[in-house]
């Protein structure tokens, strides 16, 4: 697959999902919809890894740069933000580790149980 073919598949899929997301009766992001559709196409074998592999690896290896403009955009919101800065910072800095801990502990606990069962018989 030529690299431009790979790009065409990914961009076409994302474009299709933007259309599909607009049809849905509730707000749902096109990006998550395209992830789910791409996963479905891979699982059903319609698309193979060789059809999209290089583009996918490029994006995942360089993913964080795509957030740079959004982060720079924070300067535009500075005035609104400065009014609620203290509660904003407390909530942001406190809840993120809390969510991480609760989620990871839940998974670890349940995985541990599953593994104990596997080992017993």
């Amino acid at each position: 697959m030529p690299i431009l073919g790979e790009i065409a598949i990914i961009l076409g899929l994302c474009l299709l999902c933007e259309g599909l997301a607009a049809l849905l009766p509730f707000p749902f992001p096109a990006s998550v919809l395209s992830l789910l559709l791409l996963l479905a196409l891979l699982l059903t074998g319609v698309l193979k890894e060789r059809h999209i592999g290089r583009v996918c690896d490029f994006f995942t290896r360089n993913m964080a740069i795509f957030f740079v403009p959004a982060c720079v955009g924070l300067i535009e919101h500075w005035e609104t933000l400065s009014r609620v800065l203290l509660p904003f910072l407390i909530i942001s800095l406190l809840t993120t580790p809390l969510v991480y801990a609760v989620t990871a502990w839940t998974v670890q606990l349940l995985l541990g149980r599953g593994r104990d069962k596997e080992e017993k018989p």
Binding site: F66, V72, H77, L81, I90, T96, P97, W105, V107, Q108
Partner: protein, 226 residues
């Protein structure tokens, strides 16, 4: 001449890539956690725009082109999930339960803290969806009467916290299982955290991708009842 250059979308594209390159270099040289390329690049660009009095709108002509690719960059995470499908199938229930616990904790803790600090309801509505990816968060904030820009900022703040400190969280909370680490990152800091999870390992990256999807869907459903 300068004005022509500034009005071109190439300006935003070029300084974003340049700042990112500088960020990578600085991280390699210092090895410091806070010298994350995303943080360094953002700081350098803000500094540059401020020092030379360049309007943000000039930068964003190119910046918007980069943001456009957030969609495809999220979509391609499907391949990472696909590559780990056997492990995911084997541990689907614990992963799902973790995402549900994470969603409830996120929404619950924000509501509780907002009430404790007597934060205005419109700010609370904007902070509520902070753990999910921007597109979902903005939609949820909108339907709850929140402010879009605060919602987007809270999402970035949660993402940056996760991207910077998730290895620290893992040590602090004694999370040793790579699956649990990945699901935790995705649930607390969406795609931005996932970009870091991919650097930690392929399994963490895949699980973080799964969790960002599942948590996004769960939080949208949960928001309908609030």
């Amino acid at each position: 001449m300068i004005e022509t250059m500034l009005s071109s979308p190439l300006f935003g594209l070029a300084i974003s890539c340049l700042a990112w390159w500088a960020g990578l270099w600085i991280q390699k040289k210092t090895g410091l956690l806070l010298c994350n390329p995303l943080v360094v690049a953002t700081a350098l660009i803000i500094l540059f725009l401020t020092v030379f009095h360049i309007p943000h709108a000039d930068y964003d002509r190119g910046g918007a082109l980069i943001s456009l690719f957030l969609g495809p960059a999220t979509a391609v995470l499907a391949l990472n999930i696909y590559r780990q499908r056997q492990l995911l199938k084997a541990h689907f229930l614990p992963v799902l339960a973790g995402c549900l616990a994470g969603c409830l904790t996120s929404v619950g803790s924000v509501l509780l803290l907002c009430r404790l600090m007597a934060v205005e309801p419109e700010i609370a509505a904007s902070l509520l969806p902070k753990s999910v990816t921007t597109a979902i968060a903005v939609a949820i904030a909108d339907s709850g009467g929140g402010i879009r820009s605060i919602a987007a900022t809270a999402v970035i703040a949660a993402g940056l916290t996760g991207a910077l400190f998730s290895p620290l969280f893992a040590r602090l909370f004694r999370v040793t299982d790579p699956i649990a680490q990945g699901v935790g990152i995705g649930a607390s800091s969406h795609a931005l955290g996932t970009s870091r999870a991919l650097e930690i390992g392929p399994l963490q990256g895949a699980m973080s991708s799964v969790s960002l999807c599942v948590c996004g869907i769960l939080t949208s459903v949960l928001a309908l009842f609030l």
